[in-house]
Symmetry: C2
Subunit: 120 residues, 2 copies
DNA sequence: TTGAAGCGCAACCGATGGTTGCACTTCGAA
DNA sequence: TTCGAAGTGCAACCATCGGTTGCGCTTCAA
């Protein structure tokens, strides 16, 4: 029961281009599909699709202004995504350390059955 | 310069099915395509493809034994992936906190130009 | 008023996650 | 020894997705 993950949020952040877009939006304090595409190796349409994905999961919000359509990062939602990343990381970390401990104990000679690695 | 990410490793871990597979392999201490597919909502062939991806990036290793083909997690490589997850998380966390500080400073009245959020 | 800047929609292409179907090894029990 | 079942791999097929090009629409400014 460790991976109760919001797959939509994760996969939105899973794409490398979308991660770079979030980086740019954070450091520039917002941007449009056109300005982002100028700083990325993809076309404006590709950026627009990604912005649609990020908007759909709530990681960014669109603010229409005249003929422009400016996007800004939703800080709360991004914080949620960050929390999920670190949660999965710490879960795996804990399991890896537990495995390490068991391996050490076995190698030290105390090799009584430690074959049930599901009940800490 | 914050996101120097090994995209292969990340995207291997980005797929939700592959994350669940890693979870199962960790808690069970290894498994085959067949045993994994019994505990996942996908077919054995889909699992086999995912295992191929995970093997290609070094997150798991195959150990043929008779007619079985057992897979085990490479702990060192998974630790690398975990490190990348938390690295991206902490980067975004730092930026979000910086934005928060700036917003607070502006709202407190010290509204001299804080519009260049790229040089800490 | 006219041209360009910005955007959205649609069609198309390659990679990928998923499926079904089939042939091949390998083990164990008649 | 043989034969069936378990386990695997390969191939074809489909839907989705990231990406592209092309076109038409609005909006601003010279």
């Amino acid at each position: 029961m460790s991976a109760a993950i919001d797959d939509d949020l994760w996969s939105a952040v899973g794409d490398p281009t979308r991660r770079r877009m979030l980086d740019l939006l954070l450091s520039d304090g917002g941007g449009t599909a056109t300005t982002l595409s100028e700083r990325l190796p993809v076309t404006r349409q590709a950026v627009a699709k990604h912005l649609g994905v990020l908007d759909r999961v709530g990681l960014v919000h669109a603010m229409p202004a005249g003929r422009e359509r400016r996007y800004e990062v939703d800080e709360a939602q991004l914080a949620r995504a960050v929390a999920q990343l670190t949660a999965v990381g710490t879960t795996w970390d804990a399991r890896l350390q537990r495995i390490k401990r068991i391996a050490e104990r076995i190698q030290r000679g105390t090799a009584d059955r430690e074959t049930g690695p599901d009940q800490p």
